[in-house]
């Protein structure tokens, strides 16, 4: 994918960036004065390094002609990222914030172009950690071909937030002819996922260290627009895509069933799971269908394009373990039913509140 070249708002020469010389963020870094300017320059402008940001205007500016060259509709999304711990196996809050927003654009069929980055920092966070997270955001964005073009920095009292919260807003462009929607799924459409489920949710729970379990689980955090581009090229009739984040694939399937008024039938034995995740869920009494993912999509494809879609996804590095897990039905509209590996069947309902480990 080509990296989008931004047109700077003005041709003024780039400023000399400031430096901070203290190990931790203090309230002064949120005060609007020189300390704040130095923090922004040293950490964010240096890491994100693009002309639109470096001009330090209050907004990023885009030439409409450059946007319309990519398609006929703008897509915009925003999400806030709060996660404990902020570094986890397979990623960190910065990578998550960039990938999550890219994915929210991509599942609408949009090509992600620009991101904003607003941070809320807890007083006392060490500057090196902040630098590391900003670096991670920059690397992830560059690899995905998007630019972080504007942002905001706030510092709050110790205890008022947990280390670092990040909000990213994204803008992308949807190519003509792509029509995806949660209400567009029809009976017989094939339901697929692009790989092993629940890795992120299990890795995060494990990284909190409460369970003292030793597993090599890593988050699946990844930007999926490349995979989605491949899928849409192979199966242009794709009806619906959604990244299965909080609430897992069970929540996405219920959303499809309700909005499209179809039944969904899935098969437990075809649902791809890593043995470690299965074991993790067995120990804690959790259901992997509800575990969060950060690099997995659920898609609904017309039956005649399903094989092409599956082959295309499996050819992509982020879709090697793609699988057809079920299909939409015309019976029991609004319901998701799973044929269990054991030969029974059960309803897969929306989760009420968060999943809580069972007592025994």
């Amino acid at each position: 994918m080509t990296v989008v070249q931004l047109t700077p708002a003005s041709s003024a020469p780039r400023r000399q960036l400031g430096r901070i010389h203290v190990p931790n963020v203090t309230m002064a870094h949120g005060g609007g004065g020189k300390a704040m300017r130095d923090l922004i320059d040293d950490v964010f402008v240096a890491a994100f390094d693009n002309p639109a940001l470096s001009t330090m205007e209050d907004q990023a500016r885009f030439r409409l002609a450059e946007l319309t060259a990519h398609g006929d509709r703008l897509a915009m999304t925003t999400d806030s990222y709060v996660i404990h711990p902020i570094r986890f196996p397979g990623g960190d809050i910065g990578k998550l914030a960039v990938c999550g927003t890219i994915n929210d654009l991509a599942v609408g069929g949009a090509r992600p172009l620009y991101l904003s980055c607003a941070v809320i920092i807890e007083e006392g966070l060490d500057v090196d950690t902040l630098r590391e997270i900003a670096g991670s955001m920059a690397r992830t964005a560059a690899a995905a071909g998007v630019s972080i073009v504007t942002g905001d920095t706030k510092v709050v009292d110790r205890g008022a937030c947990d280390k670092l919260f990040i909000n990213t807003t994204g803008i992308g462009v949807i190519r003509e002819g792509i029509e995806l929607g949660v209400g567009r799924v029809r009976p017989d459409d094939v339901i697929m996922v692009n790989g092993l489920l629940g890795d992120h949710g299990a890795a995060i729970l494990n990284a909190r260290g409460d369970m003292a379990l030793s597993t090599p689980l890593e988050s699946d955090c990844a930007a999926l627009h490349g995979l989605i581009g491949t899928l849409l090229a192979a199966a242009p009739g794709t009806r619906f895509l959604r990244d299965a984040t909080r609430g897992g694939i069970a929540t996405v399937l219920n959303e499809i069933a309700e909005a499209s008024q179809v039944g969904i039938l899935i098969h437990e034995e075809r649902t791809p799971l890593r043995d470690e995740v299965r074991g993790f869920c067995e120990i804690l009494g959790l259901d992997p269908l509800y575990l969060a993912n950060e690099g997995k999509i659920v898609c609904a494809v017309p039956p005649d394009q399903a094989e092409a879609a599956l082959a295309a996804m499996r050819n992509h590095p982020l879709g090697r373990d793609s699988a057809i897990i079920g299909h939409a039905t015309d019976g029991r509209p609004g319901r998701v039913v799973m044929h269990t590996v054991f030969g029974g069947r059960r309803i897969v309902d929306m989760l009420v509140g968060e999943q809580l480990p069972r007592i025994c």
Binding site: D210, M211, D275, R278, G279, E282, L284, G285, D287, R332, R335, M338, H339, T340, V341, F342, G343, G344, R345, R346, I347, D349, V352, G353, L356, P357, R358, I359, C360
Partner: protein, 391 residues
């Protein structure tokens, strides 16, 4: 996954189901009602729904979901006591995850936390002890609940607290014991159970011998069962086999885990720390003699009830709830007047709607809702007739 997939083999399940279908048809033949087998343990209830086992069984068998979810049988007054404890300034209250949502008369622990109480979810009582060590200037209370399954780890935590001289740690003890409860169910005049699936995890601690009275005095077969779906089908088949052969014995399907005489180390720790309470209240079942435990005198300093002078008040269950009848197997969850209407997992009125091990929550979340509605309509149609029969 080794040692798990072997117990979920659909081919073996089909063979067992064939046997079960044949046996149950013969046993039920000519009788007005299906054979009723109660699974006492909430873990079994969860597995039955998780794998859709009920949907595979012939109509001649009805599973009755017993009182084995410790979260579900927690009386409302005890939840109120927890909330009172969380209001003590500086106190850290620790609990297992699924106890957080249990409704008290005013709020749940989850609501108390959202209002500022320091309520923390732990995975073991030892985590709670660690929190106490890390916060020596604060009191830490662990919400100890569960049957004999969780009792040993609580007892051992108390023993460790004493060995390490930790004084800012205590238990709010709500542990319960299974045997008096099964006896209370068996003594219920409305009951028509044909047999039992015995609880696997509890039996791992107490062994099989305590169930002898079920087979001897009450002439009901009981088979201690594991928690994998094949375990449950196998144990059901063993119960039917006993019925077919006119036997009532205590059998152990879960022998790979459950020793006949239980776990002496765990029993020793329980015996050191706990003694039976004269009576203990169960949600939906009322007070059952000697069904709960409290801490023995030498360990009183670790008893939050004494330490913080908790005076438990009895709060009556909501009138509309029929949890007690569901727990005893007298009615099915979907026959309750408020099931799925006023009482849902989002707004649980009754305890059985709280934990995923609760029969009502399991029916609501995993069950066949259309089937439930159809059965509900049938129940409504025959209700006047049933009322006449009961009176």
């Amino acid at each position: 996954m080794r040692y798990v997939d072997e117990f979920r083999d659909p081919e073996k399940a089909r063979n067992l189901l064939k046997e079960i279908t044949g046996l149950s048809a013969r046993l039920q033949s000519g009788k007005a009602r299906p054979l009723q087998i109660m699974e006492v343990c909430g873990g079994h209830t969860h597995a039955i729904f998780r794998y859709g086992i009920e949907t595979m069984l012939p109509d001649e068998i009805e599973l009755v979901h017993g009182p084995g979810c410790p979260v579900c049988v927690l009386p409302m007054g005890r939840v109120d006591d927890c909330v009172t404890l969380t209001e003590i300034p500086g106190l850290i209250f620790t609990t297992f995850g699924d106890a957080m949502r249990v409704p008290g008369s005013k709020k749940s622990l989850l609501q108390a936390r959202s209002e500022g109480a320091d309520v923390r979810m732990v995975y073991s009582p030892l985590d709670s002890l660690r929190i106490a060590q890390e916060n020596p200037d604060r009191e830490v209370v662990f919400f100890a609940l569960g049957f004999e399954t969780t009792m040993p780890s609580t007892a051992m935590t108390v023993l460790r607290a004493e060995a390490e001289g930790i004084t800012n740690f205590s238990l709010f003890c709500n542990h319960i014991t299974i045997i008096p409860t099964v006896k209370a169910i068996l003594d219920s005049p409305e009951l028509e159970l044909d047999g039992f699936l015995g609880p696997g995890h509890v039996s791992m601690v107490i062994g099989n011998a305590p169930y002898d009275f079920i087979a001897g005095q009450y002439r009901k077969p009981i088979v201690v069962a594991g928690f994998e779906p094949l375990d449950i089908l196998h144990a059901l088949w063993m119960v039917l086999k006993q019925l077919d052969e006119g036997r009532s014995e205590v059998e152990n399907q879960y022998a790979r885990v459950v020793p006949k005489d239980g776990n002496p180390v765990a029993l020793d720790a329980i015996g050191k720390v706990f003694e039976l309470r004269e009576f203990f209240e169960w949600r939906g079942l009322g007070s059952i003699d000697h069904s709960g435990v409290r801490m023995r005198r030498p360990y009183e300093k670790y008893d939050a009830e004494t330490k913080f002078a908790i005076r438990s008040t009895r709060i009556a269950d909501p009138k509309s709830c029929q949890c007690g009848e569901v727990l005893k197997g007298v009615i099915k969850p979907w026959e309750c007047k408020v099931f799925g209407t006023a009482c849902t997992p989002e707004t649980p009125l009754g305890a059985l709607m709280v934990s995923s091990e609760g029969a009502c929550a399991a029916y609501y979340q995993f069950g066949d809702v259309e089937k439930i509605h159809a059965r509900r309509a049938e129940v409504k149609a025959v209700e006047p007739m049933m009322a006449r029969t009961r009176s």
